[in-house]
Amino acid sequence: MRGTRGRPVAKYILKRFLLMIPTLFGVAALIFILIRVVPGDVVELRMSGESGASDPRLIAQERARFGLDKPLWHQFAVWTWGAMRLDFGTSMWTGAPIWEEIRLRFALSLQVAIMATIVAVALAIPLGVLAALKQDSWVDYAVRIFSIAGLATPSFWLGIVLILVLLITFKWLPPMVYTPFWVNPWQNLAQLIWPAVAVGYRYSAVATRMTRSAMLEVLREDYIRTARAKGLVEKLILSRHALKNAMLPVLTVVGLEFAFLLGGLVVTEQVFNLNGLGLLFVQAVAHRDYTLTQALVMLVAGAFIVVNFLMDITFAWLDPRIRYR
């Protein structure tokens, strides 16, 4: 029994894992070309500054230093070889190692993503289940209004409103500088709880609607009717049979949103002045910092691919039909 079950699972995981390689290579090639197609050049931007004037001799000297005078295929080959060894080089804007630039921001972005996910899941699953169980009652309508409002409200706007409320009503503003949780938990939460709420609310709206519709679908399945006919306790039917199966699409949403939050909180990070990956991303693109932009895209793409991979494995665990397909 173990042997027959183990082989398809291992094959399934291996297949999914190997699929990650061409995906990452495709992303790498695409971003390498796209960032160079966009007009503007890191060297000119840096040398011109606010005065607008720049010396062509110095520009040529700096371009050569960064290897930008070499043919594109050569630049791509050098960069790919480095990326394969997880060496993304140095930032063309700051000259600091790419890993150092990312490491500084990663902890903050990861924490906001985790906190927003906790907020979202804590709201979405109970509300979604409740709305499904009380379909077409006032409870259902209230949950639907709550979730539609969440979908319609941009998280950066909610962030601005939160800041204004804190500022005008309580004459208080969240700390402007990030303090790691292990250094000062109170200071850390005082800064990060607000963006987590602003982002988590929109995130929960998507997940709530998904939970509700998935639950409604599952509750109409034959096996739920069979479980009820067997006289199983309603609580057990909901938790063991209905919720577990309804979680498949919800997990997909939660997983993808989580990966998105790692690098996608561009405007929210600006509103709350969070030194995260989203803000770094914007600066890297604005500065035409090729090496940093490429590394960040690879990081976010990698996060999506890994989250997808983990979800595939989780699906296979939750639904045995998938791993035998």
């Binding site: 000119e44 500054g49 720049s54 230093r65 700051t94 800041i163 500022l167 509103v271 693109v285």
Partner: protein, 535 residues
């Protein structure tokens, strides 16, 4: 009756005196600098590297200038930002032929590692700026073309030998970018200062967390005893303008040294009342219109003159200053500074006439003469930055429409803007200039025929000649005369370029911040040695 009158008079005098004492006594107490406290300020940009000799952004100057000294600096209390005073230099002499400048350095100045600063360090720093070795970038090298050699005859003396006399040389040595580095370090590694800090300034480096903040602490061994007043400072990097305003409003930051918009000033004033002090100044930044001389009909000076005549600059000064960071009507120099055009002379230039109707009638006549039909359409390229590009762009389009020109605006993303200008891929475009000291030698080279920043490709050798003559004129009045001729040719006769309005710098700061004076440049006055915090 006379008696009663004198009693009233004496009462009034007494009351006036009492009032005067009442007002001045606390003010005097307030004005006495107080030591202690940490100044927190917002920086909207971040240093790409730590070496000011190779950088061009205020993101380097604002957080890092307090760690360094320069040979000369601009007087921190001079509102024009044009008066040089000694920083490391205690005194100086200029040879009669204007070609040798000799500086005596202060005694007892120490680097933050405890080593003594000598002329060797000043020479090594200026050699790096003026004669950089291969592979070392120095962005302001061309500003010192007149320098033949920098010498250090003894530990306390530095001598600059020039190839020709230069009226602006002394002020040019007060450049806020020319930090004095340690010679021994430069001898070992010319790139060391790109990633490290070691200066003689009033504050020592504590930490820099990229994307977050920069911290400095008081240098107890600073040469100017009693200074700095602050225990330290913290620069917080905030790129979003709304978050910057929120930081000042929420009293998380005392000040932002670059500038806020009129709307931000008003909202902060309303929210914080007398907790906010506002300082304003004309700003040494200006947006101009580049007209491509290689594209028809902008190769015709009658068309270019018509375009500047269409602008009601005085009206715009009133209206735009309420919504944008522009205000003063200006020629080639910032109003209020030594070489600025007097208003009555300015009013004689095309586009600066007080009678805008006459000006526009002349514009229409010129367009007709040049064969430009009514409703002629062209594209104006503008930079995708809200302040002040957006309102000024809309204003220009409206003004040109009033003389029968049909303008289509094309917004170009900020990062792609400069390459577009350099390619000459435009008919008309917004051009920009931001200086660190208001000085013709620094502000005018962009209009010269061989300048890479002469985007309109005007190639006017007469301007080149006028520029060179003013640069070498040592007599101030003589220099002013040549500058007026330069200005007349540039803006009136040939109209190679046209000025919009001078930027207007607005700094609303926490009223606790004392000892800081606004200047026309956001690159100046950031050493923080004179700044203190009231209780």
């Amino acid at each position: 009756m006379r008696h009663r009158g004198s009693w009233i008079l004496s009462s009034l005098v007494t009351a006036a005196l009492a009032l005067a004492i009442g007002w001045t006594a606390p003010a005097a107490a307030q004005d006495k600098p107080r030591s202690g406290g940490e100044l927190t300020f917002v920086v909207p940009s971040e240093p790409p590297s730590y070496d000011a000799h190779r950088e061009e952004t205020f993101g380097v100057i604002h957080p890092m200038a307090p760690h360094y000294s320069t040979l000369l600096k601009v007087d921190p209390f001079d509102k024009t930002g044009t008066k040089p005073v000694g920083d490391l230099a205690e005194s100086w002499t200029i040879a009669k032929d204007g070609r040798t400048y000799t500086f005596k350095l202060r005694q007892g100045v120490k680097f933050h590692d405890g080593s003594a600063m000598t002329s060797k360090d000043v020479k090594a720093s200026y050699d790096k700026i003026i004669f950089p070795p291969a592979g070392v970038v120095s962005l302001r090298q061309s500003a010192y073309r007149a320098v033949e050699a920098v010498e250090a005859p003894d530990p306390q003396t530095v001598r600059f030998k020039l190839k020709w006399p230069e009226g602006s040389f002394l002020l040019n040595l007060a450049s806020p970018w020319n930090w004095v580095y340690k010679a021994d370090i430069l001898a070992k590694d010319m790139h060391w200062y790109e990633k490290n800090v070691m200066g003689t300034g009033p504050f020592k480096f504590v930490e820099h967390v990229k994307g977050s903040h920069w911290v400095g602490k008081k240098n107890a061994d600073y040469w100017d005893k009693g200074k700095p007043y602050l225990d330290g400072y913290r620069a917080i990097f905030i790129s979003s303008s709304s978050a910057q305003v929120a930081a000042v409003r929420g009293e998380r930051a005392h000040i932002q040294f670059r500038g806020f918009t009129p709307a931000d000033r008003d909202s902060l004033g309303q929210a914080l009342g007398n907790k906010i002090t506002v300082q304003e100044s004309p700003w040494d930044c200006i947006l101009m219109v580049a007209m491509n001389h290689q594209k028809k009909p902008f190769d015709d000076k009658r068309v270019r003159r018509a375009m500047t005549l269409a602008l009601d600059r005085y009206g715009a000064s009133q209206s735009l200053s309420k919504i944008a960071i522009v205000k003063e009507v200006a020629g080639i120099q910032v109003p209020g500074t030594p070489f600025a055009t007097p208003p009555d002379e300015l009013a004689k230039l095309a586009g600066y006439w007080k009678d805008v109707n006459a000006s526009r009638a002349e514009a229409k006549k010129l367009l007709k003469e040049a064969g430009v039909p009514d409703g002629f359409a062209f594209t104006f390229k503008n930079r995708g930055i809200p302040q002040p590009y957006e309102p000024l762009g809309i204003w220009l389009i409206d003004q040109w429409r009033q003389v029968g020109l049909n303008v289509k605006q094309e917004i170009i993303e900020a990062s792609a803007y400069h390459p577009m200008l350099k390619r000459g891929d435009f008919e008309t475009a917004m051009d920009f200039q931001c200086g660190f000291i208001v000085e013709p030698d620094l502000d005018l080279p962009r209009f010269l025929s061989d300048s890479s920043a002469n985007y309109g490709k005007s190639g006017d050798k007469v301007l080149d000649d006028l520029y060179n003559r003013q640069a070498r004129a040592t007599d101030v009045e003589e220099r002013k005369k040549i500058l007026r001729a330069f200005e007349k040719r540039l803006l009136d006769e040939e109209v190679h370029s046209m000025m919009t309005l001078q930027w207007h710098r607005i700094i609303p700061h926490n009223s606790k911040v004392k000892g800081w004076t606004i200047t026309p440049s956001h690159y100046l006055n950031n050493q923080l040695d004179t700044v203190w915090l009231a209780e």
